[in-house]
Structures are given as structure tokens and as C-alpha cells.
Symmetry: D2
Subunit: 344 residues, 4 copies
Amino acid sequence: MIVVMEPNATEAQVEKVVKYLEKHGFRININHGDILKVIAAIGDKRILNPQIIAGFDGVSTVKSIQEPYKLASRTAHPEDTIIKFSNGVKIGGKEKPVLMVGPCSVEKDINSLLEIAAAAKEMGCEFIRGGAFKPRTSPYDFQGLEEKGLEFLAEARRQTGLLVVTEVMDTMDIPLVNQYADILQVGARNMQNFKLLKALGHIKKPVMLKRGPAASIKEFLLAAEHIMYNGNHNVILCERGIKGYDSDFTRNTLDIAAVPILRKYSHLPVIVDPSHGTGRRYLIEPMGKAALIAGAHGLMYEIHNDPDNASSDGAQSLDLPTFKEVTKKFNKLIGRIDYDNKNS
Amino acid sequence: MIVVMEPNATEAQVEKVVKYLEKHGFRININHGDILKVIAAIGDKRILNPQIIAGFDGVSTVKSIQEPYKLASRTAHPEDTIIKFSNGVKIGGKEKPVLMVGPCSVEKDINSLLEIAAAAKEMGCEFIRGGAFKPRTSPYDFQGLEEKGLEFLAEARRQTGLLVVTEVMDTMDIPLVNQYADILQVGARNMQNFKLLKALGHIKKPVMLKRGPAASIKEFLLAAEHIMYNGNHNVILCERGIKGYDSDFTRNTLDIAAVPILRKYSHLPVIVDPSHGTGRRYLIEPMGKAALIAGAHGLMYEIHNDPDNASSDGAQSLDLPTFKEVTKKFNKLIGRIDYDNKNS
Amino acid sequence: MIVVMEPNATEAQVEKVVKYLEKHGFRININHGDILKVIAAIGDKRILNPQIIAGFDGVSTVKSIQEPYKLASRTAHPEDTIIKFSNGVKIGGKEKPVLMVGPCSVEKDINSLLEIAAAAKEMGCEFIRGGAFKPRTSPYDFQGLEEKGLEFLAEARRQTGLLVVTEVMDTMDIPLVNQYADILQVGARNMQNFKLLKALGHIKKPVMLKRGPAASIKEFLLAAEHIMYNGNHNVILCERGIKGYDSDFTRNTLDIAAVPILRKYSHLPVIVDPSHGTGRRYLIEPMGKAALIAGAHGLMYEIHNDPDNASSDGAQSLDLPTFKEVTKKFNKLIGRIDYDNKNS
Amino acid sequence: MIVVMEPNATEAQVEKVVKYLEKHGFRININHGDILKVIAAIGDKRILNPQIIAGFDGVSTVKSIQEPYKLASRTAHPEDTIIKFSNGVKIGGKEKPVLMVGPCSVEKDINSLLEIAAAAKEMGCEFIRGGAFKPRTSPYDFQGLEEKGLEFLAEARRQTGLLVVTEVMDTMDIPLVNQYADILQVGARNMQNFKLLKALGHIKKPVMLKRGPAASIKEFLLAAEHIMYNGNHNVILCERGIKGYDSDFTRNTLDIAAVPILRKYSHLPVIVDPSHGTGRRYLIEPMGKAALIAGAHGLMYEIHNDPDNASSDGAQSLDLPTFKEVTKKFNKLIGRIDYDNKNS
């Protein structure tokens, strides 16, 4: 921690800061400049919040010099985390990127979901996604089928072998969702629901954490740290767009640079969601490709057999024919499956 | 709902939109312009998400013309909501603004809290605030005393008569917090924790909802709508700063204009938190005054008997002598109590 | 400057940084921590851009510890700057806040401007404002009357004694605008038009610099520094709203906290513009009051004798009767003139 | 234009709006709903600013339904604009993406620039870039070599045949820069310097317009419209990152989705700058690839023969060996030149 004192700070004020830091186990080095005094304190920031020092009289600014997360950081864990599923699918490191597709919400008609799942399977996707519990900005929007939706997803898995990724919104629902899901997803607006993160630290299944709509990379990694600190190291990060300056052309600004940044500073796998990340169907293909070439470990995108009648997010879902066309291009780009040959 | 078709939309595409809207009970009026066709559809937006229409072929844009919230809106409820407590305190409308003060976190030493509460009482404040459950960006920061903290707050209430406002972070904790609190607070990062909002709709005590750090006014009112829609109309809105362009001088940008805006478009009371809203102690006074003069129904700010040793947020807390000085000015500005006379 | 090396930085890498800093006249103090090496370098940041050091191998981060502006900073100039005009009007320090009012654009009919100016004079305002050169987002919007508009403003000054504040958009127009204006205004979108700032450093008249719509406080003060560095120390800062999360209820988020922040860290006067800062007529009164009570040295707001037919920004202008009512309240709040007595 | 009246708007208020719109040549269609009255007005928005209507009594909101730009829009100009240079290089449409490389600033030692240009030529790049006029946030940073820098660029062109792209900051400098440059660049902070845009509309050479750090897509296209409206249709758009939520890991958030959006809604060529767009050297490769695969017509990035001693932006420049490695990958991705064969 670097503590910069005000130009006119008194010796007593400097002394007080030093004493306080020493009491908390920091080693101190004071730099007596002509203009400013700078106190460099080496110790465990994690046991002392710099904001406390910032409040001392005579202190101008306090700057952390250590990453505030530890378990999520590549510094402490240089090898990539690779998450393995019972059917052999792997996410992370140098493994082939995965594809997670499905409708925004699981809907009343199970046949719709099964048709979507069959198409996903045909195209070589590994995961079926769909919301059974739906966070909705308005209470007047469709709120999800809850347990019925989870059962539908399990049936789709039984029929196709696809793994299930679905959202959990509340600590109370964890036991239920945990029964059905292969990956439990935390939605963007719950990224800092710390009770939920903590509780997910106590299960064993992988958790996919979506980045909050205005979260910094640091806040994102600290949210992952909450889960890991409580015991579950199987965390997957998901970039899904942040609030930008545009509402005419997109819902969000998809931050592709987050992929190489997260891969450099963390060992956790990184998935990108170009559906929520843009809110526009026609952007799924170019932004999915951009994410993959920038190093994403997988994509999650929305597809629907009848987007015009989807319960939610139709405008950002691909219909099945377009889904196949776009996915063929993704598969080709990343050499996932030799799709064209298989079909010829 | 206004649906603007693409310049080259076909008659069949227009037809399809019209049929779909009519099926959902909308009355239709088509405007055949030279360049653009515009479909005006009057009906209940709340039963049809405009995003669905936006996904139809040939549709350029869809614009809602109705407020998406209903219960929180002043249109539907022209009189101010005034929340009344058993001891006669009232929040909202033309009632005297209230003051809610206390430490960021309730800490191990109950005497600290009692000293703070006594000072708050002396200055005419109505509420003691303090976190027993603490949402923390990092898992390494102090997480709160939980039930013990609630007991301390109740003891402070017993000794001073101050009402208690404290945060609830999770649906599971509602019964416990509900036992102790006079107002249950929802933190900014939980503003869109919809399960929590829904569950708080089923209690009777007032809920204070803090605005999310990147929430629009509309999203804020829709979050309040979730609580109200589920049965609890005693909602207090709290502006606490949004993410801005500056991190050198403040933690957040306090959006004072939200006060007159919320008062114009909603009937719910509006509180302002200049501590979190700025992150700097010296800004509490000018920003608290600004909020009051702009029409806030009250202020919430952090005070501490020993800010340098506070478990959290020392830099944005006032020590007790400064608290008294600043609060004397607030009291004078709003004529809350005739403090100077009382003490002379 | 604090240079934090990567955990695995080599001795040679540390050495290279140290040599480079010493070559540029910095005094060095190395802190050899267990985890990180930290180099504290005291010297003139202004002759060495920290970004250069940030690019060296083995460097993790570089943090400035000195304010990058000097002339605009209160550290170097503890007394308030007070700007004086020939007619005795003063802006800054503890002087009475000033009021700058007028139409967004000067329009074709001079009588309109003269009627507005007369009302402004009657209410005790000190300045008439109005754009002769208009920055417009669209080329299809009204671009201003140019010199004709300046002549109209001069005529308004001749008739009322009000001082003239008007925008200059380009270096080439400085001589012309300088002939007519008492204060030359730099618009928000030109805040970092460095050639314009530099050229305005070579005139003697006061310059009012509006904050850019996404500018940090530091960028704002550095823009002022450009003018001052080139010779003109008569700079007035104007907060006029930043881009926020809301476009339904406001055009901008007025950052009232900028007022006490700028007054603490700079000695320059600070004006607030609640018209552009909100984009809504009904917010001028509450936000103008909030700005004044937070310490603004004056307000600038838009008024018009016929807002419905204004060439620009009618929605954020007050008509004359409302202007008088609102201004009476501002006058009362700040004790500017004993308006009620004068009229009774 | 869609005008939505307040629920309690009077007939007289509706009448007034209608009359006003009719006077300005709009055709009117009123929709008398149960709750709201909606006036659809078809006509030329460009002759009537919707903000004027928004200020009328009884008006709730006004929504434009027409794109506010015309010349920059694909609607009015369905074919891609392709910009051709005398040496046969083309930018836009389905032409091979171009590469524009060079130092941030042209520096005192011409040999440095010539060495960079030779490397650029060797790798098949089409443009040498470098700032002779430098917009700098601080007046204490290097401000550029001005005409001397332009001469150096011309010499680099003479020796290598590379075309020159360089920034113009002020209307007064246009004649000078126009003598030397093949493309005149407008910097991000001048994106809304309307006088500059207008003046660049009167030259014939292509103008590359960088997106402002907080500009929406609409504002960006309207800025291009200013240049085109004044006569110069050779405009190239450049995405260079917007202000985001992160300052620890990047300088800006590069908005890759802007590429397919701009290509869909405009016919103008789109270039991406991953150096300024991220501020980090290691992100140039992944983000450059992402931009290309998303459809960019070219990349602009910073390279330097000695980044540690660059006058500006060293941290985001590639040294020459890394430049060659990265560019080989770009060339391969887009099949620009058969580089590996040529050299073997």
C-alpha cells in the first residue's frame, strides 16, 4: 500500500499512519520528498482496507499495489483452470471452445425446447441453456416456469446428451437448481449478490458468473473470489456486455477485450454471450467470431424455433435455420467439428 | 406502442405485425407515410413486451409510449405516499425531512454504537442506521455481525427511541431482519435482485430501496414496482450515487436531479445518501444541503465515534463533533428543530 | 511517481527503470518487499509521462502521486481567483453569486433579445448570454447568426449594462468574438480542442470553460491548465452535466458535487448551468438552488420570451414570467438583491 | 415524428401542436387512445428540431422516427463508399483491409521514422501514420513537431511509397496539413469540433474521423454528416474505444460491435484502432484480429523502433520485431499478402 501524505501534513500525522500500519503487521518505508512524503507499506492488504487509511488526517491518497483477489488471480495459480464434465466435455485452457445455446426462457411447450435441443445437438453444441427462473426488469414480464422448466431441461439432456446450464437467482433455490443443472449460472444483475455467491461456494458443481452491466474487471474478479473463497473453485466467467453510450443500435456494449485481459490476469475460463451482449440478432455472428478469435473458451447465444413468439428476448435470438448457418461458421473458424464433411 | 417499419417493409410484413398486435388486444392505427409506415397500437404494454415486435421482419424500431411501471407512478396515484411509524415519525409528502445516521457497519463493541445513537438522538435525528449484514466487494473485508448486530441496533433503539434502518441481503434473512428493523434496506447492488424484491413485497414493514450504481430512473422505479406489485406499497427510494467519470475525487456521482424527477413522476418518498453518494467526508455537508433544497424527504449519512478505526467506510463518515456541527446546519436549513434555542 | 514492478521482475529490469528515472532528474527510493518491488521516484512528473515507464518490461503499474496540473491547483495558488469586470461585477471567492441568462441562440429578431435582456436586468442578473456561433450535433439544425448575433448582444449590453458571455468555437473566430464578448465561452464539446484553448491563453478577457460531457475532474482542470499555461489566468469553470444512465428524464446528469470539489482543489470560480445540465425546464429551479447552496459562484440558465418558437433548446428554457418567479427565489436564497423590497 | 401528449392534455394543447407541425409542412395523423393521445407527424425532421415540440405544454414525449443523418446513411446510399488513392490503394466495401501503422508522434530524429516506415513497407502496410500536431490532455506533454513533422512524413512516403495519414487539429492548419497528408485525421476529442468538420467538408482529400470517447453511434454518424453536408463525401470512420468502467486494465473499451453496426447503417468505410482502443500493447493482436473478423476495412496501430523512449504512448506501441510477428498474423487472417511465401 502506498500512502501519499498532503504537502502540509505534520510529522505527528505521518507518525500516526505509520504506527497504525505497523500495528497491522505492515513493513514501512518512508520516502521524504521535498514536496510530498510517501509511505510504502508492504503487508497483507486483505487484512486492512485502504479506505481506513484514506480517512486519516493529512493523508492525500492511498493506492493499493497488490491485486485484491488472490484465488482468481493467475499470479497465485499460473496454470489454466480446466473444468471437466462427466461426459468428457472440458472448458478452459487450450480445450476446444464450447457452444451453449438455447432459448432465453424455457417455455410452456416442451416440444419447442426439444426441437431446439435436437438442432443444437446436430450442430455439435455441448450445452443447452434456458432460464427456468427469470430475472425481469419489470414485474409484468414473464417470470419463468421454475421447477417445471428445470424438468424440461433435464428431459432435453436425456434425449440429446447435452449438458444443462441454467440460472439460479436466490440462495433458497440452490438445492433445487443444483439437482438439475450441470452449470449453475449467476445473472449479471446478481453479480454482487454476495449471499448467493457465498452459498454457491458451498456446492461442487461449476458456477458461471456473468459480468455485471457496469462492473469493472476488478469487481468481476472479486465476485468470482467470493465463490472460490467459500470453497468452489469451478468458476467460469462470462462477458455479456456493459452499459455503453448507445441505446439506438444495441442493448449493451460487448467488451471483447475482457477476454484477453481475463485470460492474462486470471486462470479461469471465459465465455462470451453475444446475444445479451448486443441485443441484436444480426450481431451474433460477427461478435461471436470476434470473441472466439480473441480467445474465448466458448460462446453462449440464444436460439429459438419461433423467435417471434418467444416469451422473452426474441429480438436477440436466432431462428433455427439461421442458427445452423451461423454455427457452421463458428465451427469452421475454430475447427470444432468437421461439420461440412460429416454432412456430405 | 409505436412500431416503425423499415422503408422497404412489405405489405405482408406490416400485416403480420398488425395481426399479432390485434390478437393481443391492441387497437391499431396505421400511418402510411411516403417514407415510413408507422403503426400506432394502443393497449396494455404490460401484457406484451415490445422486444417481441422488434424481432419481426421489416420492423425498424418499437417505442413504448406508456410508463412501464404503474403502482410506483404518480399518474396512477396522484397523492404523495407518506409512511408513518408508531412513534409518530413520518416520511414523505410535505412532512419534515428525516435524518438517518449511524456507522456503516455495526461493530463488535456495543458501546460505540450506543455513543453514536446518543449523539444522533441529541441532534434530533429520527433513525439509527448500521449494517449487520454487509455486502462487500471483497470476501476479505469485514462481513458484518449478523444477528448480534441486529440485537445491538435494537438496544440502541430501546435506549434512545430512534427507529432502526438496516440492510437485508437475502430472502432467507428477511424473517430475522424483519424482527428487528423498522425499515428494511435493499442495497444498491441488490436493486435488481428480483427474488429479494418479491419477498419484500410480502412483508408489511417499509422497505428502503437504494438505486443501483448504473441504474436508470426507469429501472429504479421498476424495481420499486416489483415490491409494490407483490403487495407492499411502503417503499422509500434512496439515491446514493451512480458510477461517473471520476475516481480520483469521488467514489460515485450523486445524482441530485433524481430527487425532483422522482418526486414529479412517482409518489414515493425519496431519501439521499451523501456518504456513499460521494465517498468523501467533506462532501456530506454541501451535498446534504443540495439534496434537501432540491426536495429530498430525508438524508442518510454515516457517522462514527472513531472513524479512523471503523470496520468499513471510515473515509466517508463524520466523527461526532463534526456530525453535530453539520447536522446543526441541516436542522437550520430545513427548520427541523429549533436546535440553537434548545441549547442556549 | 510510484513504479510497481511485476512479482517476477528481474534485477536488470529494476535497474533499467531506475537508471531511466535518474537520467530524468528523479530521486529514487527502492522498497524491496517480499512480493513486490516498489520504486518511489520524486521529481517533476511534468517532464516525464508515466506512460513511458508503464511500457518498460517488468513494470506492473505506474502511479502518479502529484497533481498533473499546477496553475489551476489550489496547492500552488491558495487564494481564490476573483475575476473583476469594468462595471464592478466580480466572480469568485466570497463574492455574491452571479446570474447569466439569455436564449440558447441569438435569433433573427433583435427585439426578442432586447426583451429578454430587459427582463434579466430587471431581475438583477449581471450577464446576458446567447450563442452567435452554435455547435450543433446535426448539420441540419440552426447554426447561429454569427457576427450579426454578436452585434445584437452588444446592443443588448448598450441598452441594459449587462455584460455579454458568448461562445467561440474556433481559433479563427477569436478576434471577432473578443471584440464583442465580456467573457468568451468554450463549449463542452470543445473542452479538449487544445488549439482553441491555447489561443485563448493569448487573450486577456476571461474565458468560461464548460466541462466536457464525459470529462473527469482531472481532465477538466487540465483543460483549464492549457489556457493558463499559455498566459490567461482568468478562467471560469462551468459544470454543465455529464452523460449519465438516463435518457428518458434528462439530457445529462448535473454533477453538483463538482462544485465543492473544484472549490477545494482549485482556486478558479465555478459556475453551474442547470439548463444544459438537465435539459428540462422544471429542473432549473431545484438544481439551480442545489448548485448555489453547494457553493457555486453563479448560475447560467436559458430563458426565452417565446420558448415554443426558440431556434434551439426551447425545452430547457424558462419563459419570462417563470424566469422572474424562479429568479426571485434564487435572489432570495443567496441574498443577492433585496428584490421583494425593491419592488414594493 | 411521434408526439405523445400527457394523459390530461387539453384539446387546445393538442390543437396547438398540430397547427405548429402543419405550419412546418408535416402531415398529421392523430390517434385518440383511451389513455393517451398520439400525434404522428410525417415530414422533414431536419427542418424542425423535436426539442421544440417537447417544450410545448401538454406534451409528454417526442420521438423521432427518421434517421437524423442522411448522407451518411445506407438508406439513401445503398452501395458501399470505396475510397481510392492515386497509387491504387482502396478502402471500403469488399476491398482488402488496409493497415495504417507508425508512431504516435513524429519525433525529432527522422531516422527513427524512416526505420519504422521501412518495416511497415516490408510487411505490406499501405499507410504510415504519425502525429505532427498532437492533442495532449496536459500542456506539459510533448505537443508535436508541427510542419517539421509533416515534412518527415512526406520523406517517409517518398522513400517507401506508403500513403500518409496524420491529424489536423484546427481549421487554420488545414491548408498546411492538406499539402502533406493523403488522409487528414480528426482526433476523437475533436469529433464534435463542428467548425473543423465544416472546413474539412470543403477540401477534397479523404478525412478519417475518430469516434469521440463517449459518442453514441448516432452522434458519430452526425459528425460525419457535417463533413459530407459541406461537400466532402470521402469520409472514413474510425472506432478507437470509448470510456468504460475499467481503468486498471485498459485506457478505453474498444467497441468492436460498432464495426458491423456502422457497416449495416452506413456505407462509409470503418477502420479500428486497437492501440488507443485499449492502451495496452499485448491487446493489439487479439483486438486487431477481432476487428478484422467483425468486418473492419482496416486497422490503425502504433509501432515504434524504441517504444521505451517514445515521446508519447509507448505503452500501447509495438516494437518492430513484435510488429512484424503480429502483422504476419493479421496478413494471414485476411489473406492480404502471401507474406510467408514471399519471404521464403
